[in-house]
Symmetry: C2
Subunit: 163 residues, 2 copies
């Protein structure tokens, strides 16, 4: 008697998803670096938030969600937003978030990716859904940062600079 | 004698990736619909392309890459761009692309996702890398469309409207 087990080869592994995310974060870091200090905090179009505020949200979503997934401690999104006064503060918080993601990643077992949690005590989402949201939201806001830079006459980095 | 096989549960299945992509495409379609006809083709910020041109690229990347992956026929990106004169043309091409993606998806076996191809005869990428690029590039340009809408005094749809 023989048994056939059908296994779908993963189209994307956990490690590959981390590389994709951190690649996007390297590009966003370049966008932060290229912004003139004052425009980072003051420039906006159509009543939108300045890029520094978008970065605070990106950092809060990334670091806050990873910490909640690993520890189970729920904090509201607003409390996860870093206090920043200047570009150097954003970059420092950005790099701390890089470490938080990498450290958390090894503690999240693959079988947890379908687990639902109440993110920030407000949004019921699966772990994979949260990670997809964090990445997609960063790409979305970074794209807006590209328009701000173009409006300021500054050429943004190439979209494929993920290294 | 017993054999232990260790299988990492997929963090994301092929079907789930399709749902995520088409969800993003539904949101982008809403953004196209909400654009005033003339601004879709003429409005821009900082020398960037109007949103209609960004949509032509998004359509070409999605439809062109799916068709190449399935048929093996290589066409340059430029040849995959739809001819569009008005918003209705973009929406029609958008919906045709929805069908092309769905039809192609069932023809791409999971084991092909790591296969490398020369996309548009110009870019050596894996199938999963191409799909990630298509989704990420759409989110990036749609985020730019959000800024155009805000600059025009128009409220864009919520980022989570993927249904």
């Amino acid at each position: 008697m023989s048994t056939t087990i059908s296994i779908e080869r993963p189209i994307l592994t956990k490690d590959e998803l981390l590389v994709a995310w951190q690649g996007h974060r390297k590009l966003t870091r370049r966008v932060i670096e290229i912004f003139p200090e004052k425009d980072l905090f003051n420039f906006s179009i159509g009543g939108m938030r300045p890029f520094a505020e978008l970065c605070r949200e990106i950092i809060a979503v990334a670091a806050g969600s990873m910490q909640q997934i690993v520890t189970g401690n729920i904090r509201p999104l607003e409390e996860c937003m870093p206090e920043v006064q200047e570009k150097a503060d954003i970059l420092e918080s950005w790099d701390q978030t890089t470490d938080i993601i990498n450290t958390s990643w090894s503690q999240i077992q693959p079988e947890r990716f379908r687990e639902e949690i109440s993110l920030f005590g407000a949004y019921n989402m699966s772990v994979i859904g949260i990670i997809q949201y964090a990445i997609d939201n960063e790409i979305h806001h970074r794209g807006q940062g590209y328009v701000y830079l173009r409006a300021l006459g500054i050429e943004p980095p190439f979209f494929w600079e993920r290294f």
